[in-house]
Amino acid sequence: MKNIEKKIFNFGLCLCLALSNVITVLAGGAIEIIDITNAQPSPIPGQVIAKVIGIKWDVRSIPVQYSMNNTLDPIPNPLGAPVLTLAQAQAALQTSFDSWNNIPTSFIEMKITGTTANPGLAGFDFVNELTFRTSAGFTSRASSFTTSLIKDRTFADGEDFDEDGDSDFSSAITVCTDVDGDGDIEFPAGFYKAGTILDNDAQFNTKATNGLRFTVGDEALDTNTRSADLIAIATHEFGHSHGLAHVMDNQISDTDGSSSVMFQGGVDTGDPASEKARRSLGSDDIAWSSYFYPEGSARSGPASLQPGDKAFDKEYGFIKGELRHGVLDQPIAGGSVFAIDYLTDKFVASGYSGTTQTSYNPTTGNTSLIINDPAFHILNGKYVIPVPRGIYAVGVEPVDGNPTDADSINRTCRIGSFFGQQNFNEEFYNRSREEAREVRLGEKFPVLVLPGLNLSSGVDIVTSDSININNFGDRDTFGIRNVPPGTLFAVQIPASQITAVNPGGGLLIQGVAFDTGVADASVVPVFAKAMLTTGTVNGTMVTIDLAHPLAEKNNFVGQDNDFAPFYFRAPRAIGAAVLKGIERGEIQNLFIVLQVPTTTPFPGVSGQPPFIGFDGAGPPNGQPNDAPIFGLSFFSFNGGATWFRNQGFNIRFSLITSKPLGQP
């Protein structure tokens, strides 16, 4: 069946079957804290069980009012001109706020309404401060820090919660207001849920030692990594300011290397195109802001529909399901489940799996994972992804440090990582074939999402128990810069390694994966060709059969700072053919091959080819090799006529295999 016909057939099948799938879930992409409301005793004496929850502003806080620290004008910077005035910086920051404010399906609204003359550092004082002052210990580019409740709480009129001698709650108001005109915000007295944000500040590092020159406007964009577009940086921070966590999405489509705004460190300050792109929200950013602040969810107030708004529940539906680890047989906390457009492959949104809890010491404020039992900490592996109406393919990738580590996302991801759950291959949901042992990891089942209809629940994913043959250790470097177009890289997988996966038994060869990257964040690492083929090695004579590949893909799209899989359509047939060939002595090796684009210029401001990951550089510039240099990596500059053995590195290409279905 042709690909498009297959997609239409699958879509029809999806439509027929989807009505039977009904599961309720909660999970998400939020910055998380704990909730100790009505907490039960923990297994640790003296401690209580704390639920892990997201943070958000209460509707009474909307619009969130910010104050601009006016004690630095112009804005200092470590590089000199162009120098921003305070007014220019304020206008840029409001532009960043407006990116979020203008989402028609989200009722979040953040605006700069005043100034504060704070000569010190921002903090918890009921003044939502924007400042270019940072502490000596602050080494990041910028940050947004939030004070929120960890327990449901009713505040009485006149209560001075931040202990500054001034009332912070008033029964005379129904929305946050600076009642007494002293610069800080008073909240309406009354009940607030755990997770409610009371104060948020954003700080931007301009220190001479490790700060940035913040700029505004296209003409100021340059390749100096210490010069950054203020709107791009601030838009990211203001996502945190209303509760959004970091995401894994650093490549929107096969043609657009830009990341979601909430990807950590996604502003490549050496790439003007990246900085420009990151001024605007991506579909994932819009989806999660709308999910947490759904427009049209109330009949009055900020959440009610105003001119220009669109009701979230009329525009968005949910993909819901549970993620389980196929080898550990556990629900996964903090797996990144993503949705791409089924027809275009364009990334749309993602969410983290899992409902989690931890043990909390009410005396010290410590939370801990010392109850070393995943069943205690991980209640389920449920996830939700808010997406506009459409047809989607759903996939999952591990939060394994590439492109982002769990520690930098949220507590749920940290818990999953703590229990060793992030050791699986990226794969797609394929409905009835979704098992720990499955044949085609790249097979996509279409998931139909229609707002208001519960068609897209029960999208349950089990990670595969695939076995990777990796002739490499941890990544030390990327390369190779300035190689000529058409350069070929190859990794040898000797027959003995292949037969060792399931000695005496069958084998599925499911695919290959390439560790790839780019010099410029706005660029997609597209390679001319990826293939799996056979070859021989006799001393220095290497012959790789590029003319008769077992599997081949032209214009292979890699991933930025991650392994990019190329999954095969016929793993059984390839596995059987390879084993038969080995048995007959016809196959001595498999070769995983990747070719750099054959034409120049390479895209991007750096003009560099797409990179591949290397293990092995040696000290002092690279870390000591955690794996020997195997001599199984090769390269060719003449289309494969001559191959050179790489003696300094192991190329990080992986062969993905599995035992056949039904075999233990």
């Binding site: 998380e32 550092l121 990041s140 960890i150 010290t364 060793g420 002092p620 510039n621 050179f644």
Partner: protein, 202 residues
């Protein structure tokens, strides 16, 4: 004929370039031809060399306890680290150092301060830390590069200690061979060698 001539010319150029590269092939084994990941799109990271050079203290230790406190109007978490091994600075093995982490929980007021991407250290966690004193005479250290200077020390399948970004109670994969997924940890012994090599080359 002109076309044939032109094609021959192109072919010759390709041959020459291929030949030039063939002679340079061995150089590809040279680290100079590769790119430190921090020079790629991940440009926000601090190179290891810079982290070693700018750290005032580099230690391996175990977190004895953590407690949150207010510093001005900011909540911070103080992690007390029992130093097991020191590579740089005045924090000797057998002593304790205090590392101040942004954010924390106030158990009395029942509030938390959170900062996305900030480092976390848990009681009982073994850590490899790159530290600096934010102010002259400060009693506590900060982590270099926001969270970048904090590594967890875990165990591999064979019991060897390994360095990893995220704290893990489960055995981790290291090196080459048959693996699940592609998450790989670095042997602690190798990581130490790396830090020492950079330190000694300065």
């Amino acid at each position: 004929m002109k076309k044939l001539f032109a094609l021959s010319g192109v072919f010759m150029i390709v041959l020459v370039i291929a030949g030039l590269w063939a002679t340079k092939a061995d150089n590809l084994n040279d680290v100079q031809q590769t790119v430190n990941p921090v020079a790629t799109s991940l440009g926000t990271d601090m190179p290891m060399r810079q982290m070693v050079e700018e750290s005032s203290s580099i230690v391996i230790g175990q977190c004895a306890e953590t407690k949150s406190k207010w510093v001005g109007r900011s909540l911070v978490t103080e992690a007390t680290i029992s130093v097991e091994e020191a590579f740089k600075g005045d924090a000797a093995a057998g002593t304790q150092v205090t590392v101040e982490l942004p954010g924390g929980i106030d158990p009395n007021r029942k509030v938390a301060m959170t900062i996305a991407g900030a480092p976390h250290i848990s009681p009982g966690e073994k850590v490899f830390l790159f530290l600096f004193r934010p102010d002259d005479g400060a009693n506590s250290y900060s982590v270099m590069g926001f969270a970048q200077g904090k590594y967890s020390v875990g165990q591999a399948n064979d019991g060897e200690e390994v360095v990893t970004r995220d704290m893990s109670s489960a055995p981790l994969q290291k090196g080459a061979g048959l693996t699940r997924g592609n998450l790989q940890a670095i042997p602690l012994s190798k990581f130490k060698e790396w830090v020492k090599a950079i330190s000694s080359s300065n």
